[in-house]
């Protein structure tokens, strides 16, 4: 063993990085917690940008025939808003939770492949920055032969074919310039990141669970990570291929989606939604998981129907692959296909309903502690139900042919992805805040955030239901005065600014509490799962002593028993248990070998955007540089040595966590 290490040391020019502070420690980190935090901040940054784009859209729509944005700017803004929120905000915020919490919830010291985890992050952030560099380098324009009355400014030099990029509108003829290439190649890069994460998480869950943690003892959040990772693993390859086709069509003259070359533009719709619908569940399942953790904790009751909730989650994920054409009911599909996909869409409502009622069963008869995470979780149920039910009205195909492509759909998808996914995410952000920062957030500001957000949210998206039914189409840059839609559009715009205000409250709370909030105890919520058995903030080695699990909600059962009526009774040993856990958690008895940091994920990831630019500008030089970085990253990765890392005062190396 040591000889191999010696050999490897000879082969590599780099020593493994060792800084534990400063910027290099973050760039080279393979610690799942730090990666999670970086995901969280970067994704929140993109969430703010996506939010600003949404505000610009809402200002433009506040009045009929408004001219705040040009048509080109408006198209760029709705395309980037959708793309950003899906790929650069909600997915990576979920990834932040996955990264930070997954090893903690299953009792591991890191994920299965820590360097791959870092690679996934760096590819994602470079993919996002690559996509956004369209505002600097990208160009957009009128369709070939069309005229514009004014120059397209920087705000309009972004992808403008919609986040769905329907063909042939997104082809080079109808969307000339490079902006749409930034979109296709950018999503391609982001997809690589998603695939890497998916396999990493699947392996971690299957192989790295603590002793005694059988699958049916895993926390529901971990289960939902599992389901999401499978969804990613099966759906991302579909969009990857479709995006390659688009890039080939645009760059190299193929005609996969172009009628004039025998291609089929409807095929793009099928491929996009075959990915796109599972993607919806990729966005919402993590929130299901978070809510399934928050509700029992703050109700002081176990999750009602744990098994049913787990199976319903997987049922949704599975059926989610069989409903894609419900995005295309008005497109050119046959009545038989319409009926089939209508029914499959109805079927998916059943497991979703099971989840909702089981959550209600969880809070029913509990002792509800209405702290901010709980408020967001309850808000999630109420808002998500509206989104789910409007979804059922879409499954009624004839009705959907009136609703599709109108603001009714915009309302529906925001009730699912904002009222659902984002409310769940905020519940999680408040819930795990003490574990991450070792400080408590400010409860009053948290509640203010919730109330502002739920009011602003309903004011913004509620009216869109009837705006859509009364005829407002989606992606409409202007609407005629005579449509009589002005009043409720104005209300909606006002609502969007209330949401913005609530986000400011959230950020203020976060920034202040992170530094000056009261010190958080190890287990502030009297929680149920084992991530609360480590000190706050989580020590770098997670668990000093590998935990052993005997039950579902193991931590709770170590603290509580039941009396003859079935009521929870705190064990006499509970207080001492907490003291012991904290003492043990802060002072590992033996040296803990953690995965070494590495430069190579960063270097490898840096090669990808350069390869992306090379494709867009057909530049051999850029391709060369990109490829060199890619290869340095890959070979360096394979050859870098494992180095001893000294933490604390211990001497003998014990177990290694990273299977590097």
């Amino acid at each position: 063993m040591s000889e191999t290490i010696q050999e490897k040391k000879l082969l590599t020019v780099f020593k493994r990085p060792s800084s534990s502070e400063g910027i290099w420690s973050w760039i080279t980190t393979v610690d799942h917690k730090r990666i999670g935090i970086m995901y969280g901040y970067a994704a929140f940054f993109f969430f703010l940008i996506g939010g600003l784009e949404a505000l610009l859209l809402r200002i433009q729509l506040a009045r009929p025939e408004n001219n705040f944005l040009s048509a080109a700017e408006y198209s760029a803004m709705f395309t980037m808003h959708g793309t950003t929120m899906v790929f650069l905000a909600i997915m990576p915020i979920s990834a932040a939770f996955f990264n930070y919490l997954l090893p903690l919830q299953i009792g591991a010291r890191d994920v299965a492949f820590p360097r791959l985890n870092a690679l996934s992050y760096w590819i994602w952030i470079f993919g996002g920055l690559f996509l956004y560099s369209t505002f600097i380098f990208g160009t957009a324009g009128a369709p070939e032969g069309g005229y514009l009355a004014e120059e397209i400014g920087w705000l309009g030099n972004a992808p403008s074919g919609g986040w769905f990029g329907y063909q042939p509108n997104a082809s080079i003829k109808y969307s000339p310039g490079t902006a749409m290439d930034y979109w296709a190649v950018g999503l391609q890069i982001l997809g690589i990141s998603s695939l890497i994460s998916a396999f990493n998480f699947i392996t971690t869950i299957l192989n790295m669970r603590a002793k005694g943690m059988r699958l049916m003892r895993m926390p529901v959040f971990t289960w939902m990570i599992f389901a999401t990772a499978f969804l990613l693993a099966f759906s991302v390859p579909i969009i990857a291929i479709a995006l390659f086709f688009v890039t080939f069509d645009r760059q190299f003259g193929t005609t996969f989606f172009l009628v004039e070359g025998g291609g089929d533009p409807v095929l793009w719709q099928h491929l996009f939604w075959l990915f796109g619908h599972p993607e919806v569940y990729i966005l919402i399942l993590p929130a299901f998981g978070i809510v399934s953790e928050v509700l029992p904790t703050f109700s002081r009751k176990p999750l009602f129907g744990y098994a049913a909730i787990v199976f319903a989650g997987f049922g949704i994920a599975f059926i989610g692959f069989g409903v894609w054409a419900h995005h295309m009911f008005a497109s050119s599909i046959s009545p038989v296909a319409q009926a089939g996909f209508g029914i499959s869409t109805m079927i998916i409502a059943v497991p979703t309903g099971v989840k909702i009622f089981n959550w209600l069963g969880t809070i029913w008869g509990g002792k509800l502690n209405l702290k901010t995470p709980m408020l967001f979780a309850l808000g999630f149920i109420a808002m998500f139900v509206i989104g789910g039910l409007s979804g059922v009205t879409h499954s009624v195909v004839p009705a959907d042919t009136q609703q599709t492509d109108t603001y009714y759909i915009v309302a529906h998808l925001h009730y699912v992805l904002f009222g659902g996914a984002m409310f769940g995410i905020f519940a999680g952000l408040y819930y795990w805040f003490p574990k991450v920062w070792g400080k408590m957030y400010n409860e009053k500001l948290g509640q203010l955030h919730f109330w502002l957000m739920i009011i602003g949210f309903n004011l913004t998206f509620g009216p869109m239901h009837w705006l859509g039914l009364k005829g407002q189409i989606r992606r409409t840059w202007v609407y005629a005065e005579e449509t009589n839609l002005g009043f409720w559009n104005m209300i909606s715009t006002i609502g969007s600014f209330i949401i913005a205000l609530s986000i400011i409250v959230f950020m203020a709370n976060w920034a202040y509490s992170r530094r000056k909030g009261p010190v958080a105890p190890m287990d502030p919520w009297d929680a149920r799962t084992i991530e609360w058995t480590v000190p706050s903030p989580t020590p770098v080695w997670n668990f000093s002593t590998p935990p052993e699990v005997e039950n579902l909600d193991d931590f709770w059962h170590k603290k509580y028993g039941e009396d003859s009526e079935g009521r929870a009774v705190r064990k006499d040993t509970a207080d001492q248990l907490l003291v012991d856990l904290e003492e043990d958690g802060l002072n590992p008895k033996e040296h803990i070998k953690l995965p070494n940091p590495s430069y190579f994920p960063f270097i490898l990831a840096l090669g990808l955007p350069l390869l992306g630019y090379a494709v867009i500008y057909k530049s051999v030089a850029l391709a060369g540089v990109g490829l060199v970085l890619f290869l340095i990253g890959g070979f360096g990765w394979a050859l870098e040595p494992i180095e001893e890392e000294t933490i604390e005062n211990s001497s003998t190396a014990s177990e290694s966590v990273g299977h590097e």
């Binding site: 198209s75 069309g146 005229y147 919609g162 329907y166 005829g471 009774v569």
Partner: protein, 337 residues
């Protein structure tokens, strides 16, 4: 089928109905004010589902709020019973929603096939999508027009649709749901207007910069009016009298480059499709430019002086016409009844 819906309709909660529908009055694109059998069938099906959805929502919301009120933590409250689940209850809330969905699925599937059927004795109209206007062709009458689809009242219309460039989506909310226009394929949509009237239409699918201005109007006429309209449309364009302002306008039309893209039957005899609307009877249309503006001298002046300022990305160039030329051209176009 109507009995099935009637019983549902009686259940409608009047106050909610008023609240919901009175939010936006007189919306010309209202999908909830059907004016023909197709749209009405869809409307019935929507309200059936809508009220079921409202019922389920209030059920969930009530349980949620009641739970929050009665189970809220209070200092003297005992610890809750640790209930892990209840198989009977869980089966119940799996089976009941499934049954409700079956009740929705049956009329849904039936309606899907009803709506797709080609009606008997339907009048055929071809709809061609262009960036950013709809072209309407009546093969049995040899008519080609744009922006305004004229149909006879109380008669089924069968639209055969395709696109000349990107995906479009033809939608007349008061007469039927929407259907895509796909390049390289033919799609079908039925229309039926009970009475005479004017209905707004719009492209539903994002189709590029001026998507929001790709509108149209459908006008249903009485049978006799429709016949008169057909007879007039079949005529070649009227020629202006020599020496008039309109005659000057015709010369501008012929010489400024308009004929590269437009056709006026009987004036410029090159046959075949053009990328721009046929103008033979343009004065008979009350809206122009993808129905995005009115056919009046004021709006037309703006359009002719800089088309791209009205419809960004348009294929109609700015021909740098002088004010006098525009006045003459508008005068000429006004004679093309």
């Amino acid at each position: 089928m109507s009995d099935y819906f009637l019983s549902i309709k009686k259940l409608k909660l009047v106050p909610f109905m008023v609240l919901f529908t009175s939010c936006i009055e007189n919306a010309p694109m209202d999908s909830l004010s059907p004016e023909g059998p197709y749209a009405r069938t869809i409307d019935d099906l929507f309200w059936l589902t809508f009220w079921i959805a409202v019922g389920v929502f209030f059920l969930v919301l009530t349980i949620l709020l009641v739970a929050v009120v009665i189970f809220r933590d209070k200092p003297d409250k005992p610890e809750p019973k640790q209930i892990h689940g209840n198989t009977k209850l869980e089966l119940l809330w799996t089976v009941i929603p499934a049954l409700i969905l079956v009740a929705i699925a049956i009329p849904t599937v039936r309606t899907i096939f009803d709506l797709a059927k080609e009606p008997e004795n339907a009048m055929k109209v071809e709809v061609v999508g262009h960036q950013w206007w709809f072209e309407f062709k009546y093969p049995q009458y040899g008519i080609t027009t744009a922006n305004v689809l004229i149909i006879p009242e109380d008669k089924p219309i069968r639209l055969e649709m395709w696109s000349n460039d990107v995906m479009h989506n033809f939608w007349v909310p008061k007469l039927n749901g929407k259907r895509y226009l796909v390049p390289g394929q033919i799609t079908y949509l039925n229309l039926y207007a009970d009475n005479t009237g004017e209905y707004w239409a719009q492209c539903g699918e994002y189709c590029g910069l001026s998507h929001s201005k790709m509108r149209a109007r459908v006008i249903s006429l009485s049978n006799s009016d429709f016949k008169m309209w057909v007879e007039n449309e079949q005529k070649e364009a009227r020629r202006p009298e020599e020496g008039t302002l309109a005659a000057k306008g015709e010369q501008i039309y012929l010489n400024a480059g308009c004929t590269q893209c437009h056709v006026i039957n009987g004036v410029w005899d090159i046959q075949g499709d053009r990328i721009a609307p046929n103008l033979t009877h343009v004065a008979g249309r009350h809206v122009l430019g993808g129905a995005s503006f009115e056919n009046n001298p004021e709006d037309l002046t703006k359009w002719l002086s800089n088309p791209a300022a009205i419809k960004p990305g348009t294929f109609m160039p700015n021909l740098e016409l002088t004010e006098d030329e525009i006045v003459a051209l508008i005068e000429y176009l006004g004679t093309l009844k």
